[in-house]
């Protein structure tokens, strides 16, 4: 039973796993950028992902705005919430131990999840696949739903674009400089506090984009954010937060691994990433792409 080596099934599940991998990559990317500059592990990252999905649903249900409109508007709204959160809450904690930042964002995550549960109930809400992306493409060994192809392609493009902005543009250069030495960058006349705010906003907006893209393929429910952020933490531990490119590769790779597990040992699929984390910690404690501590 456990080893039914059906190659089509395995390939099929791995392609589907890649969809999850895209979400892991987008989320761990945002987490790494925020951590790099703010020094805060954003526990609320998953909740912003969930908010992206719920905002897409709300925009559709109340204003009749479709998927494509939501894909633009929802992340902007999530980013605006991020600005408020950074200015009102997180900013007060930069000078003290970073563990408090983690506690604060954990509290924020609980509060937002509670609020969503109060408004929408414990059950999920449905979100349709946009008409233009319905149907499937035949890729030889399986019929691949068009929407999933879109998620994989758009997600990877989004990750690469983020990588490009950070590694290859003047804006990204300032960001990297501020990560290394904020006092020095401030001395050059760059407004570092504003930069911190916008970085947090951009990081959570990225999570919001992921949430909108996930809306048609995952059940939109209040717990989806916390569930995925724990997996993303494991992804971050495996990859190490030192490298943007590393985050992307690790996220996609672990999505594939999860798909592979689903096809071969279905009962292990929910734990395989955690097991991978344990193995990496034992063999290479600093993570695949991590710098020495």
């Amino acid at each position: 039973m456990p080893f039914d080596l059906n190659l089509n099934l395995i390939l099929g599940q791995m392609v589907l796993g890649l969809v999850n991998g895209v979400f892991y990559a987008i989320l761990s990317l945002g987490l790494a950028i925020i951590f790099g500059l703010l020094g805060v592990i954003n526990f609320a990252h998953g909740v912003f992902f969930m908010l992206g999905a719920f905002l897409a649903y709300m925009l559709g249900a109340t204003l009749g705005i479709g998927y494509w409109g939501s894909l633009l508007i929802a992340p902007v709204l999530v980013g605006l919430i991020g600005i408020v959160v950074e200015v009102l809450l997180i900013r007060r904690l930069y000078k003290i131990d970073h563990l408090y930042g983690l506690l604060l964002t954990l509290g924020l995550a609980l509060a937002i999840e509670g609020l969503i549960r109060i408004v929408f109930g414990q059950q999920g809400v449905p979100y349709p696949i946009p008409p233009s992306l319905r149907g499937a493409v035949d890729i030889g060994f399986m019929l691949l739903p068009l929407y999933r192809v879109w998620v994989v392609v758009a997600g990877i493009v989004l990750c690469l674009a983020t990588w490009f902005v950070i590694e290859r543009t003047p804006l990204g250069a300032k960001l990297r400089a501020a990560t290394d030495n904020p006092a020095m960058v401030q001395a050059f006349g760059i407004n570092v506090p504003v930069m911190l705010t916008l970085t947090y906003a951009a990081g959570v907006a990225l999570a919001g984009v992921g949430g909108v893209m996930a809306a048609p393929v995952m059940t939109i429910d209040p717990a989806m954010g916390t569930n995925i952020v724990i997996v993303v933490f494991a992804v971050v531990v495996i990859g190490g937060m030192g490298s943007i490119f590393g985050s992307i590769v690790t996220g996609l790779g672990l999505g594939l691994l999860e798909g592979l597990a689903k096809a071969t040992f279905p009962s292990a699929s929910s734990t395989v990433i955690f097991v991978a984390m344990v193995i990496i910690l034992v063999l290479r404690p600093r993570g695949l792409f991590g710098k020495m501590a």
Binding site: L99, Y100, A111, I230, F233, T271, F274
Partner: protein
């Protein structure tokens, strides 16, 4: 990285006090005796089952505070030890037919063993990574508990018998169980205070305050961290086993993320790195939850707001603020 509990130090370091009562300093002895009175009197006014639940969580919170407050390690995965301790205690009592004392011991030992394995894995990384790793490990345990046959899946392990303690005390009566748990709780508080102020506890605090300097003094830092982690895990399993005896059930709730965040919240509200913080925090948080229970998801919202409020305004917790007012350690 400096630890959570040391960012401001409003009080002078604790010196040696000539006054000793069960290892407590004068101020703590007064607090302790006042608490004994509360324990004796409160069942007259409050439902004993609720009080016993609070006592189990005080023990759990002490276990957690030993790690966060005195060793400076922030775990987000203590539900793994709590949940697995509860499951094994319930399994031992129902399937192996062990008497209640041995079942509790089995739950404690199993949680300690799990702590040894998880600690060995997690102390390879420090600070925030440590928190993320323990969180991920606990989530893995949750998925295992969800699917493994011995946990009873969604139903959990039910009708765990209370039995008789060492063949002497019939625990099926609520008041008999109440006095038993009260004695255990007070003993744990004495034990916890002793550990914190023993030479071993001094080393833990040295590690918390400055791990590099402690290492340079020839202390095997990782070994002490691991030992502290194992003690914390075992004591968590002990608390969970008592809870299983109390309610007669062990369920998925015990191993869920909520338990991990709850114990952090209790300590944050009570006072991280204080002896009596877990006591005060457990009363406050469990009462809050009791009052809010009929309102469903509002509990989560209120918990989140309390979290943020204490992180932003009362980082020292209630007992920490009290210490500042009274200018003494509690």
């Amino acid at each position: 990285m400096s630890s959570a509990a040391t960012e401001t130090r409003p009080l002078p370091m604790e010196g040696r006090d000539s006054f000793q009562f069960l290892g407590f300093t004068r101020a703590r002895a007064i607090f302790f005796l006042a608490f004994v009175v509360v324990v004796v009197v409160s069942p007259l006014a409050v439902y004993p089952i609720f009080l016993m639940k609070v006592y189990c969580f005080i023990i759990f919170a002490c276990a957690y505070n030993l790690l966060l407050g005195y060793t400076g390690l922030m775990s987000f995965g203590h539900a793994a030890f709590f949940g697995m301790g509860a499951y094994l205690c319930g399994y031992a009592a129902t399937q192996w037919g062990l008497p209640v004392g041995l079942a509790v011991l089995a739950g404690t030992a199993y949680a300690g063993l799990l702590g040894l394995v998880f600690g060995w894995i997690a102390i390879r990384r420090q600070g925030l990574y440590f928190g993320m790793i323990t969180l991920a490990l606990a989530q893995m345990v949750y998925f295992v508990a969800l699917k493994a046959p011995f946990t009873g899946g969604e139903d959990g392990i039910q009708s765990v018998p209370r039995g008789t303690l060492f063949g002497l005390v019939d625990l099926s009566s609520n008041m008999a169980l109440y006095w038993t748990l009260s004695v255990i709780l007070l003993a744990v508080l004495v034990f916890y205070n002793r550990i914190v102020h023993s030479p071993f506890g001094q080393v833990l605090r040295a590690i918390r305050n400055n791990p590099d300097r402690t290492k340079s003094l020839g202390v095997d830092v990782d070994r002490f961290k691991l030992l502290s982690f194992v003690i914390s895990a075992a004591l968590s399993g002990f608390a969970a086993s008592l809870k299983t005896v109390l309610f007669g059930i062990a369920t998925l709730t015990d191993v869920s993320l909520n338990i991990s965040t709850e114990v952090v919240l209790i300590n944050l509200v009570g006072g991280i790195g204080t002896i009596f913080g877990p006591v005060v925090g457990s009363y406050v948080i469990l009462m809050l939850e009791q009052f809010m229970a009929p309102y469903g998801p509002w509990v989560l919202l209120i918990q989140g707001i309390v979290f943020m409020l204490f992180v932003l305004i009362f980082r020292q917790g209630i007992v920490g603020e009290l210490q500042k007012r009274l200018k003494t350690h509690l």
